[in-house]
């Protein structure tokens, strides 16, 4: 009886809420010429103008609105990062640059800006040195967009598939052999490109978080009574491994790791 009554009450609350939502949507749609009716492109150009006029707060709120629409364009994140950089909020700037990079890892300017912003934060974390050929390969892979890589992979993959079809249908043995080699070569290229694409996907999917507080303690376990292992400051990028009751297990590129309160960081 009691549960039913509670259920009824719940529904009673929900319906007016739903109605209110619908009304709000209607009102928004019906308000002609209001600022809310602006298209994302308009908001974007207005925010750009505000940035130009050094009104960074205003510009930042404009970019944030576009993102709230669900239009996740890396360029908007990038511009938002620029606003926060100019406002001196390095943590928020790095967060937005990283978000832009996650969507479009090939953008050189975003990487430059991250480097610049990271050069101004308190923490300096020595990253493990990568050998030259691997470093060059990484840079090359980073410079290629997701879609270009996907396209190249598809070309070779489809070519390999097509050659196999032709080979299977051919009757004469020498022709079949030539087609077989061709299919093998195309298949190898496709496999390499698939590996590169997988690397990029994996790289972009690495769960990162940015420290947003001036100073945050990293502890040995997910509770306040654990030992403080080290302290990180605003803007430091950490890799997230686990999540447990309001705490993240994070690690730094130099292999230091520990638990940090959820509120101290923001996931990319």
């Amino acid at each position: 009886m009691r549960t039913r009554a509670a259920g009824g009450g719940w529904r009673g609350v929900i319906v007016p809420g739903w109605v209110a939502c619908a009304l709000w949507v209607l009102l928004c749609a019906a308000a002609p010429g209001a600022a809310a009716a602006a298209t994302p492109a308009e908001i974007f150009s207005r925010a750009n103008d505000a940035y130009e006029a050094e009104k960074y707060e205003e510009a930042a709120s404009g970019y944030a609105r576009i993102l709230n629409y669900g239009l996740l364009d890396p360029r908007v994140y990038y511009n938002l990062g620029n606003c926060y950089f100019k406002l001196g909020r390095l943590g928020a700037a790095i967060l937005n640059y990283e978000r832009a990079l996650k969507l479009n890892p090939s953008d050189r300017e975003t990487r430059d800006n991250i480097d610049l912003a990271r050069g101004q934060i308190r923490d300096r974390v020595a990253e493990t040195e990568v050998q030259y050929p691997i470093r060059a390969l990484k840079r090359m892979l980073d410079a290629i967009t997701f879609n270009a890589m996907t396209f190249a992979f598809l070309v070779f993959y489809q070519a390999a598939g097509g050659l196999v079809v032709v080979m299977l249908l051919a009757r004469a043995a020498p022709r079949r052999r030539a087609l077989g080699y061709g299919a093998l070569a195309a298949g190898l290229c496709a496999a390499l490109l698939a590996g590169a694409l997988a690397y990029k996907v994996h790289d972009a999917a690495t769960p990162l978080a940015i420290v947003m507080q001036d100073k945050a303690d990293v502890r040995s376990g997910p509770a306040e009574d654990n030992t403080v292992l080290f302290t990180v400051h605003e803007g430091t990028i950490v890799e997230v491994h686990n999540h447990l009751e309001g705490w993240y297990q994070v690690s730094l590129p130099n292999a230091l790791s520990g638990w940090i309160p959820e509120v101290a960081v923001e996931k990319v």
């Binding site: 908007v76 511009n79 950089f85 479009n104 993959y157 489809q158 196999v164």
Partner: protein, 620 residues
């Protein structure tokens, strides 16, 4: 001592004194006394500390570090005395210090420690009253010193009226400091004069220690060989005033700065009541005089209005730019002088004022700086000597060169500019066609870093959160070749399977057909039907090959049969047997009369044998 005497009477004391040694040194007596206990400010007193003991071998000078509020003028001077009275030895040593109190009022000379034979003895504190200047006459007269000491010559001054006082002329001498400004900007000049006012003759004077001016950059202003003298009236008294020292001071940091006191020792003529002394000697007295410290308020240069090209100079300056010629050829050297002159300190100006010029090659300048004084104001001149080499022909202009400084009078930053200088540059020697100047290249340097500019996204915004490789179309494109390959493989297999079965059927049929044809030949085995017999045998042979190898029977020549057999691995003797049979049949078909029943039977047997043999070899 009293204790000793009381304890050991008579001759025992002698023995004891001789055997005394260190144990008896306990009884040292230390006392301190002043020559006077009441003086006027500026006068000196003598502090004597007497140590009396049986042996003074291990007596250290007194520790006067606790003596505060006094300047130690001289000392210690040491006098020792050794006595042997009634077989009893005693030694005493006196350390004397000449002191000058810093202030007035009641001062105390604290208990001073003296280390004798490893034990510390303390003197009694002494109280001293210092009266304001000129209130009492000092009964103390130092011993006269014969003749003036060498030093700066002082023009003899007639004693001013009212100086006819007997002794203690020191009271009529004072040293003071005058600064021309008490509130200045950083880098602005303060002229400080150290003055001596006196009412008596000054025989000699010396600085007690070199003056230092912390917080200032000090430049000495040279004084004339003979000190300037002038009469001044201070209150009711008339003084003769000498300028002892002048300094141009430039504050280096803002805030309250102090010009520290300066101490002079002045030797003055003392009037003596002894006519012989006054006649034969010059009775003198050395007094120490100290100036009062002066506080200077140093204002910082206004930061908010500071122009970007501010040079750091404070004062008032003019600039000029002059070239040694106005006509030159390409690659000739032109000397250009940039000169800054004016009142103020130019030492802080170090940057080369001439900017990099496009059409001139520029060498590092030679810099000459000089300073001068004009009416006690410090003037600076700095000249940059440039060598410019024009790189292109035509009228080249050295643009106006700006110099920005702070003007403390106007309390504002000012910028002065030189006149632009035009130079007519003609082509260099051999300059046919466009001249190719030798350009000195330099690396492009990053001056400052900033974030890259906004992304403008002119083509509109798009949602990048779902890249193509996550779309269903991509998955479909991945699966497409797999499906196509599988389909092709299935198709090819089915096709091959059907081909193989046709072949097998034909092969099986080949044997059956050949046997049927041979049976037919056997039925016609009579001379009347010899032609048909041989045709059937030949057809059995060729038809077998055709059926077996999936070739049409019509086009089968001997050569083609040979090829097919060879390709399918029939051995040589089988092939030749086959051909012999076939040839025999062909021959008999065209000459049937020549063959009898025996030949026919033989040919049939040979054909059967050949076919069986072939069948066996080809099936194996």
């Amino acid at each position: 001592m009293m204790d000793l005497r009381a304890r050991f009477p008579g001759s025992m004391a002698v023995l004891l004194a001789l055997a005394a040694g260190a144990a008896l040194a306990d009884d040292a007596v230390v006392r301190a006394f002043l020559d006077r206990t009441e003086i006027s400010a500026g006068e000196e007193i003598t502090l004597s500390i007497e140590i009396a003991a049986l042996s003074l071998d291990q007596a250290a000078p007194p520790d006067i570090s606790r003596l505060e509020g006094f300047d130690v003028i001289t000392g210690p001077s040491v006098s020792s005395r050794f006595q042997w009275i009634n077989g009893r030895t005693s030694a005493s040593r006196t350390y004397s210090y000449v002191l000058r109190p810093d202030g007035t009022g009641t001062l105390t000379i604290p208990a001073l420690g003296v280390l004798v034979q490893g034990r510390t003895y303390r003197t009694r504190p002494i109280t001293l009253t210092v009266n304001p200047p000129g209130t009492i006459r000092s009964p103390y007269a130092p011993p006269p010193v014969a003749g003036p000491q060498p030093g700066r010559s002082i023009p003899p001054s007639t004693p001013a009226p009212g100086t006819g006082r007997a002794a203690g002329a020191g009271a009529d001498v004072r040293v003071r400091v005058e600064a021309d400004a008490r509130t200045v900007y950083v880098g602005q000049q303060v002229t400080v004069r150290f003055l001596l006012d006196t009412q008596t003759d000054i025989l000699n004077l010396a600085l007690k220690d070199n003056p230092t001016f912390p917080g200032f950059w000090a430049e000495e202003i040279k004084l004339p060989e003979n000190l300037d003298m002038k009469r001044v009236q201070i209150g009711a008294d008339s003084f003769v005033e000498y300028t002892l020292m002048k300094r141009a001071l430039f504050p280096t940091s803002p805030g309250q700065q102090t010009i520290p006191p300066v101490t002079y020792q002045v030797q003055v003529r003392r009037r003596s009541s002894d006519p012989i002394e006054s006649f034969f000697f010059t009775p003198t007295e050395t007094v120490t005089r100290r100036s009062d410290p002066i506080a200077i308020t140093v204002l910082p240069l206004p930061a908010e209005s500071r122009p970007p090209g501010f040079s750091g100079a404070v004062g008032s300056f003019n600039v000029s730019l002059a070239a040694d010629r106005t006509e030159a050829r390409v690659n000739d050297a032109i000397g250009v002088k940039f000169r800054i002159t004016g009142e103020g300190n130019l030492n802080a100006v170090t940057a080369s004022p001439l900017p990099e010029l496009n059409d001139f090659k520029q060498f590092a300048p030679k810099v000459n700086a000089s300073t001068s004084l004009q009416a006690d104001r410090f003037r600076g001149e700095k000249v940059w000597d440039y060598v410019l080499i024009p790189l292109a022909a035509g009228t080249q202009t050295i643009p106006p060169v700006a110099f920005t400084f702070f003007d403390p009078v106007a309390r504002a930053y000012r910028t002065v500019r030189s006149e632009p200088v035009s130079i007519q540059v003609a082509r260099g020697e051999g300059g046919v066609g466009p001249s190719l100047p030798s350009v000195s290249q330099s690396d492009v340097r990053l001056l400052r870093r900033d974030v890259h500019y906004l992304k403008l996204a002119r083509g509109g915004l798009e949602d990048w959160s779902r890249p193509f490789h996550t779309s269903p179309v991509f998955m479909a494109l991945i699966l497409l070749p797999v499906v196509a390959d599988l389909g092709a493989a299935l198709y090819a297999r089915r096709r091959d399977a059907s081909t193989a079965s046709t072949r097998l059927r034909r092969e099986r049929r080949a044997r059956r057909v050949a046997r049927k044809r041979l049976n037919e030949a056997r039925r016609r085995m009579s001379p009347a039907t010899a032609r048909a017999f041989y045709a059937a045998v030949a057809q059995a042979l060729t038809g077998y090959v055709g059926d077996k190898f999936d070739a049409s029977g019509a086009g089968l020549t001997h050569q083609r049969i040979e090829e097919l057999l060879a390709a399918h691995g029939a051995p040589e003797e089988k092939r030749s047997a086959f051909h012999r049979c076939l040839e025999a049949c062909d021959y008999a078909r065209f000459a049937p009369s020549s063959s009898g029943p025996d030949e026919m039977r033989k040919a049939l047997a040979a054909a059967e044998e050949t076919l069986v043999g072939l069948e066996r070899t080809l099936s194996a």
